[in-house]
Amino acid sequence: MIEFSIWTILQYLAQGLGWTLCLSLLAFVLGGAVGGGILLARIATYPLLRVFARGYIEFFQGTPLLMQLFMVFFGLSLLGRDVSPWVAAGFSLTLYSAAFLAEIWRGCVEAVDRGQWEAAASLAMSRWEQLRHVILPQALRHAVTPTVGFSVQIVKGTAVTSIIGMTELTKTGSILANATLQPFTIFGMVGLGYFLLCYPLSRLAHYLERKLNVLAAH
């Protein structure tokens, strides 16, 4: 058995935390971009686009993230492509986040009164102009809080990628637990690491919610 000093352990964990953070950011940014596209399809006037977006959202919301990860990781390997854990993890987290963000944002768009679409339409704006200048700015206000709230889910969701060998926080923790034979201490520290990432995000969500409510009251 190798002896690890507490500093060595903390160093490894910090590295794992860094990868968790990277993976979360990647999933959030790319997921947001893809999610924006899915949102547009979901509220499009072409029925085919709407059906596609609905199917997409229902599939990714209705199946476990772990299974999606396996599908991407092993599915792409089946096609003769050897995918690195990074690509598989980033890809599946992006698709997963996109589905949830699109659905959150759709709700925000639908919360805007129908009269707003009609008023914009009556001023001869195209559907895109109505969306861009009238609907989205109002939907954005509703969207901030649940979007930040969902980022917490993404951070926690990255833990499943440890299964395919991503040495993010959870994977680092389990390696260290095996090496030190102190799983309780190590996973306690891992939990603290996730909390350090997630707690500020949920505080931020609460803060923004209060702030936007105050703004809306004026």
Binding site: E118, A119, A121, S122, A124, M125, Q138
Partner: protein, 243 residues
């Protein structure tokens, strides 16, 4: 030739036949008041004129711009037709002046300074040039509706549609909005309004149209319509209002 021509327009909502062949002609400068019970199709007819409802059958023509059943591109038509809604529908995230300027920039590609000038002029006309930077939420209902009128007027429409524009207002705020409409009528604006304000319809209307069960049941001058209704339905409608 008439400025607005509605030609055997039909509208179905599912199995519900709301407009059953409506014909109407409106001349430039004319003020037309559409009256009738709720459910008679008057709002649907008004909303069809700028394509907010698609037609099931028939034709609408405004100043040479045609709207057919099944048509989806309404832009050219809507440039000729302005609309004011019962619930104002101002854009709450924009100031008063930005509400008026938005479509001038986005649709008419007007430069900001020019759009601002144009917005000032129409807001002045409705008596709100002192509220340029207010948010809609800070205004009374009457003021909001006057901004909505200004927003529609800024696009220089050929026809202005008014859909029960005083129905959502507190009684003491109705007259300031009607005063603006009266002024527009005096300036020769072509107006088509759905209204419950019978006295107002009588006063400013050149023509009153009574809708009943999806059809234009009777139309004529206010004097004929309110003084000597020909049909039993119109007489009953006016009687029920206590007019």
């Amino acid at each position: 030739m008439s400025l607005l021509r509605i030609d055997s327009v039909h509208k179905h909502f599912g199995s519900h036949h709301v407009l059953k062949g409506v014909d109407l002609k409106v001349e430039a400068g004319e003020v037309v008041a559409i009256i009738g019970r709720s459910g008679s199709g008057k709002s649907t007819l008004l909303r069809s004129i700028n394509g907010l409802e698609t037609l099931s059958d028939g034709l609408i023509e405004v100043d040479g711009e045609r709207l057919h059943a099944g048509q989806t591109d309404m832009r050219a038509l809507r440039l000729k037709v302005g609309m004011v809604f019962q619930q104002f529908n101002l854009f709450p995230h924009l100031s008063v002046v930005e509400n008026v300027m938005l479509a001038l920039g986005v649709v008419k590609k007007m430069a900001r300074s020019q759009a601002r000038e144009c917005a000032h002029a129409v807001l002045d006309k409705v008596g709100l040039s002192h509220k340029l930077d207010a948010r809609p939420g800070q205004l009374s209902g009457g003021q909001q509706q006057r901004v909505a009128i200004a927003r529609a007027l800024a696009m220089s429409p050929k026809v202005l549609l008014c859909d029960e524009i005083t129905s959502a207002l507190d009684p003491e705020l109705v007259s300031e909005v009607l005063a603006v409409v009266r002024q527009l009528a005096g300036e020769g604006m072509t107006l088509v309004m759905v209204t419950h304000e019978m006295r107002f319809a009588r006063e400013v209307g050149d023509k009153v149209v009574f809708m009943h069960e999806g059809r234009i049941h009777e139309q004529g001058t206010p004097e004929q319509m309110f003084g000597a209704p020909r049909s039993r339905e119109l007489a009953a409608f006016i009687g029920a209002l206590g007019g």
